[in-house]
């Protein structure tokens, strides 16, 4: 029969030597990143887990990195693609610094550069399998944006990736306001991260919170959130719904 022959046209549509060179699925992945604007700049949080499918394989993955003088990049999704993006950005910042002319790429410029990269890779059917959060401050202007693996990008006062969109954003929509203090911002982020810890299977209880202001970047040392498992509903989860776990 002609089953083998019918494979040929599909491959050629997708490019030469197609399948071996396109990203088809991610392998080692990070879960949500959550970020918000506060009075002095941006706060961003992410846990340090790198999952290999359903195994919580790596537990010290730094998923938030500073970029240049003015930006922070947080990533969820394929960790190796995040490392590749960091290499691109390293080169970008290097060339920017080599001009040595007092100009520097701010968070808005980096965000747009990343959007172009992500979208162009998507168009070649070889995406960088990440959802990125880019935040920063330049000349007093705060900036917070996100780019997805298909190139969807936008800015907002608070953003999140993955599960964070479903669990953290609703909390932020209720409780975020302009000019949060640093303590309030951290408290709000921790609230979001705690919910994610309870409800996201790929979350681990080891996170970093990063802060960027006009003065510079700080990424905290890893720490854990206090959790409470003695809710009565956890004690007998099947009470209201037989067969659940």
């Amino acid at each position: 029969m002609n089953f083998m022959a019918s494979k040929q046209p599909e491959n050629s549509l997708l490019g030469p030597e197609a399948d071996s060179q396109r990203t088809l699925y991610p392998y080692v992945t990070g879960t949500s990143v959550v970020a918000l604007k506060y009075k002095d700049g941006i706060l961003m949080a992410a846990d340090m887990g790198g999952s290999y499918g359903s195994t919580l394989r790596y537990k010290s993955v730094e998923r938030i990195k500073p970029i240049g003088k003015h930006s922070l990049l947080g990533a969820s999704g394929e960790i190796s693609d995040f490392q590749e993006i960091l290499r691109y950005l390293d080169e970008l910042i290097l060339y920017d610094n080599m001009w040595d002319d007092g100009n520097s790429l701010g968070p808005k410029e980096v965000h747009n550069y990343l959007t172009r990269v992500m979208y162009n890779r998507r168009n070649k059917f070889n995406p960088l399998w990440n959802s990125l959060v880019l935040g920063g401050v330049k000349n007093g202007q705060k900036y917070l944006g996100t780019v997805s693996m298909i190139g969807v990008n936008f800015e907002d006062n608070h953003v999140a990736t993955g599960f964070g969109n479903h669990l953290a954003r609703p909390i932020l929509r209720q409780e975020w306001h302009e000019n949060l203090s640093y303590e309030d911002g951290v408290r709000l982020l921790e609230k979001c991260m705690r919910v994610l810890l309870y409800r996201d299977r790929s979350a681990i209880n080891k996170l970093q919170i990063a802060k960027i202001t006009e003065e510079g970047t700080t990424i905290s040392q890893p720490y854990s959130l206090k959790t409470y498992w003695e809710f009565s509903a956890f004690a007998n989860p099947a009470q209201g719904a037989v067969g659940t776990w």
Binding site: K108, E109, N112, N139
Partner: protein
Amino acid sequence: MFRNQYDTDVTTWSPAGRLFQVEYAMEAVKQGSAAIGLRSKTHVVLGCVNKANSELSSHQKKIFKVDDHIGVAIAGLTADGRVLSRYMRNECINYNFTYESPLPVGRLVVQLADKAQVCTQRSWKRPYGVGLLVAGLDESGAHLYYNCPSGNYFEYQAFAIGSRSQAAKTYLERRFENFTDSSRDDLVKDAITAIRETLQGETLKSSICTIAVVGVGEPFHILDQGTVQQIIDTFEIAAEQEGPAAEPDAATGQDTAVEQGAAADQGGSTDEGVAPMDI
């Protein structure tokens, strides 16, 4: 400069360490009609003399908008200038597309200079025969640069290029210390006055000069003829009454700007450090 055996190729050095073809290219700039630029902390003004070939023809375009925050005035081979303006516009658009941010003037100027340098080091090319006065705004303020056919570039507070530009330069040299804090309108008036200097007696009309402005909150644009003529009229009236611009004079009382001009003239003419050059 006279013809010699080292001036055929741009890739031939003279024994004195000169590249004559590059120097000849700079001569082409000196033959073009004048262009001037001056800047304050927040604005940059470009002006040029537009001579039409005949009354029947239109004049050549010598000022180009490169982006909302950058414009350029050229002197020399205008065709070369047009090509370089297109290159500059392209660079600005590409940068804006990738970074959604305006290209810093300083970087554009360096790219332009590097492009010009290439033509001084290839046997199959010739240097661009045009000098460019690049006016632009970026994060660090207002800038005015001059790009040479040699591939050099310099930043200026005020500058003039092209034929009879020395007269304008002399005028600008007397005044430049005041430019940083000048208002936009005073800057435009100084630009028009500088252009008038290059005309050496010929009547200044808005049909033979073009003025363009870029500043904080003001994208680069060329002033329309009506506006320019109005400004010319305000000081042509005063000029008739007070004589050549260098003479100190009692204020005519008509125009505060004219009074400012007269006051500045007094300051300029009593400055004994700078002598007007005769060339």
